[in-house]
């Protein structure tokens, strides 16, 4: 009797335990349409003046590990190098926190939306703003708009003239990303798209010839071809559909008091050109990549 009861409990507990034991990759994707709800007149710093933060007197910022280039540099978010690290410090600065007052914590992507109080004030991890996600968390206004790119090995001689030419290939992308969404919806290849847990595995399978090409956001693609895979090239990029621009946003706890302040901070950074400068500095520009229709 007692035994069966205990087993009953175990059965109840099993799925819960299973849930706590799951890891997941960082998201490399671009999101859609958070519009900044900037409060007129007040600066971001005034807004954040006496908020109840994770650690008083500190701004706690989260990202996943590993932190990939070109968003971060040397897998170290604290050095201010890489686009997202730089943006995080710029936002902190506007909120009135200097470099020494910014604390970084590691939060895997799939823990960032877990229930319960957050360990961070905001999370910056190439997270797309989507309506489904906004039901569970807050997003700041978007700080970057990325398009999708197709990376293949030069020796594979893939030269797509159009999206149609991609459908016969074996293509892979990372789970949770808009790259994968684009691959499923826009390209819709004949063989099931290969879903991968992170970009490292995607890169390895590309090298092994287990994949013909991988789809990532453009900055990541530039970084892969420039520094990570010898002999790889960007064979094309998708054009952003008009009015359907997808953006990365800062992720905050649902209903966080900091959300409007982060929006103000980003609006200020947008206005004075800081965001554009940081993009210029850390992310390659899209000059000579053929656009696939």
């Amino acid at each position: 009797m007692r035994n069966t009861r205990l087993r009953g409990l175990a059965v109840l507990a099993a799925p819960l335990l299973l849930l706590t034991a799951c890891g997941s990759p960082p998201a490399t994707d671009d999101g859609s349409g958070g519009s900044g709800g900037s409060t007129e007149g007040a600066s971001a710093e005034d807004c954040a003046a006496d908020l109840d933060l994770t650690t008083q007197g500190k701004l706690t910022v989260a990202t996943d590990s590993p932190a990939y280039d070109p968003w971060f540099s040397e897998d170290d978010p604290t050095n201010g190098k890489g686009f997202e690290s730089a943006v995080a410090y710029a936002v902190a600065d506007r909120l009135g926190y200097d470099k020494s007052q910014v604390e970084w914590v590691t939060v895997p992507f799939n823990n960032s939306y877990a229930p319960g109080p957050k360990k961070f004030d905001f999370d910056i991890n190439q997270i797309s703003i989507t309506p489904e996600r906004e039901r569970v968390v807050d997003f700041s206004a978007g700080y970057y708009t990325a398009s999708q790119a197709v990376v293949a090995l030069e020796r594979s001689k893939i030269e797509p003239g159009s999206i149609e030419d991609l459908t016969s290939l074996k293509l892979g992308a990372q789970t949770g990303t808009t790259s994968l969404t684009a691959l499923r919806d826009v390209v819709d290849p004949e063989t099931q798209p290969v879903v991968l847990q992170n970009t490292n595995i995607a890169k390895q399978q590309l090298l092994n010839g287990q994949l013909d090409a991988i789809v990532t956001d453009l900055p990541t693609a530039f970084y892969i071809t420039a520094a990570e895979i010898e002999g790889s090239t960007i064979v094309g990029q998708f054009e952003q559909p008009e009015g359907d621009a997808e953006e990365f946003g800062l992720l905050l706890e649902k209903g966080s008091d900091l959300t409007p302040c982060a929006d103000d901070a980003l609006a200020e950074l947008e206005e004075d050109g800081t965001l554009a400068d940081l993009q210029e500095q850390w992310l390659s520009t899209t000059v000579d990549v053929p656009v696939l229709e």
Partner: protein, 290 residues
């Protein structure tokens, strides 16, 4: 368990005495009281757990994130499709694992000097593959083998991943089988020798049948474990149930599909666990001669 009925003495019909009837009544009352108490305690305990869960301030959010009916329904077909891959993987792997395990265990049992290299390989194999985390074996085969660029060797992640599971679990199972072989009583071996059976015949007809029958529960245990470890193939891009659940969750910021996947696994492992228990009890009854 039941009342002690005495054997009827020859010639007259036996009826239980006053005292025996009283004993039975006492026992019955005792049983009823204990049954009621067990039920009451269980109801209170589980009621308490449920109450704590359902009245906790965060419950509505937990419910929405983990037990959303909408997301369960939405993700169900996807997770089910992924689960077919899990099932395919362990159904292919398990027979090969059993064969490999028996082969390795029997190899270690041999004594012929000619077979020394094989014994060394068998020992090396079990030591190595029991020690290395299964996930690493999956990585090494799934990404390492294609990197070798060998002609004629598959680069298909499903087959490579399943092979990795076979190698990893073959080592565990080899040890289980070896323990089974070792647990057969030495008198059995001596009897076989007295009958002039060769060592091969002894293994085939005397030892293995007893060893394997005895090892049913631990072997089933490893089988259940294997079923869950098919989820490791996800790291190679095999789009199995758990990975599909995570993928869905990553887009919709919801964990419900993981619970759906868990239910799929439980639907398999719980009946197997009951079967394992049943077999274990049966073996025990047999060995104790009742």
């Amino acid at each position: 368990m039941s009342g002690t009925a005495q054997a009827p003495t020859a010639g007259e019909a036996w009826t239980p005495s006053e005292r025996e009837l009283e004993r039975r009544a006492v026992r019955r009352r005792d049983r009823t009281r204990r049954g009621l108490l067990a039920t009451a305690v269980s109801v209170v305990a589980f009621g308490l757990v449920a109450w704590v869960l359902l009245t906790s301030p965060g419950w509505p959010r937990v419910q929405a994130l983990f037990f959303s009916r909408y997301h369960a329904w939405e993700s169900f077909p996807d997770v089910a499709r992924g689960f077919l891959l899990n099932v395919a993987s362990f159904m292919v792997a398990e027979p090969v694992i059993l064969l490999l395990g028996v082969l390795v265990a029997v190899t270690r049992w041999t004594v012929s000097p000619w077979l020394t290299p094989l014994r060394v390989i068998a020992i090396g194999y079990t030591d190595l593959f029991r020690g290395v985390p299964t996930l690493l074996v999956v990585f090494l085969l799934g990404l390492g083998v294609p990197a070798l660029q060998l002609a004629g060797v598959t680069t298909n992640v499903f087959w490579l991943g399943t092979t990795a599971l076979v190698l990893s679990y073959g080592a565990y199972v080899a040890e289980v089988v070896r323990a089974g072989i070792d647990s057969v009583h030495p008198s059995q071996l001596a009897s076989a020798e007295a009958l002039a059976l060769t060592r091969a015949q002894t293994m085939r007809h005397v030892i293995l049948p007893q060893a394997l029958r005895r090892q049913g529960p631990p072997l089933l245990n490893d089988f259940v474990s294997l079923q869950k470890d098919t989820a490791l193939l996800a790291v190679l891009g095999v789009f199995e149930a758990l990975f599909r659940a995570q993928d869905y969750g990553n887009y919709n910021f919801n964990f419900t599909p993981l619970v759906v996947a868990a239910v799929f696994f439980l639907a398999l492992t719980i009946p197997l666990a009951r079967l394992t228990d049943h077999l274990g009890r049966r073996t025990m009854r047999r060995e104790r001669g009742r």
